[in-house]
Amino acid sequence: MDPLPFFQWCESSLAGAAIKNSTWAFAVIESAHLLGLALIGGIVLIMNLRLLGLGLRSQPMSDLQHDLQPWFIGSLIVMISTGFAMFLSEAVKCYYSTPFWVKMSALITALIFSVTIQRRLMLAESSASSARSRKIVALISLLLWFLVGASGRWIGFSG
């Protein structure tokens, strides 16, 4: 089923139209989205650097996972709610935007990867995994999140 009518409905919804017709709303929401990006990016980076044996490499992986998880979830909530608000205001443009679909696919993949394979690896004893497998997981995670960020930025350039 073609989801275009749903996208059109989003854009004509009360919230979508309000953001679209406001001079400041989009810019303010986007600024919050950028602040969330900095934080969630920093968290993803610290965890993956640890898996690569860099950065906070003396800390137990499970400590980092435990301490950063609430901040990861918090910044994810900021990212998704501000991202959804921006989407509402230009949903039809998003429908026709390749970077938008790339971003959504990469985001879902990155999230599933984070809460399954990566999380399990971070919480397990370090003897349970080889340095090589930790590096591969970190590189996949970094690549996926980079794709989310880069294609996200490109939504703004296209159309």
């Binding site: 810019a27 600024s31 934080l39 990016g41 920093g42 650097l49």
Partner: protein, 184 residues
Amino acid sequence: MSALGFCQWLAGTSWSIELHESQYMYSLVESAHVLTLTVFVGLAALLDLRLIGVTLRRVPVEQMTKRLLPWLIGGFTVMVITGGLLFYAIPVRSFQNVFFRAKIVFLILAGINVCLFHRGIYRSVEKWRLAETPPKRARMAGVLSLMLWAAIVIAGRMIAYNWFDCDIQSAIVNWWAGCVVDSH
């Protein structure tokens, strides 16, 4: 030569024009600038949150500063180079933009905050390196840093909007932005 004159001269150089008019180069530089936020501002924010004592409380403070320092320096270098290129592509408008000026002021304040932290409470870090909640002055430095970097990011984003461009703003903003209105 005045600062504005210098910007006008910059704007006339062929590389500035090429970067400004390029189809992809400007966007790529801007993307690098935005994505490096994660490396520089993201890691700096986590260091600040550790100083405030709200996350990574079991990590010794000097581990945060020393182990993350190379990444912070690397990230900051990329920010400055890409940010410099973005300015170089559009110098006159940026120079006369209120948000650009505010961003520079906040950047200087953030730099002063780092200096004061290093010359002040950080000197005695040996005494509180393991404290889950660091001393008040360290927490204050963390809060101030978070607020300043947030302001820098927001001001930086707003540069791209033309709300306060010289031709459309009030006299007071014109003055603050140093507008010479006919310089467009």
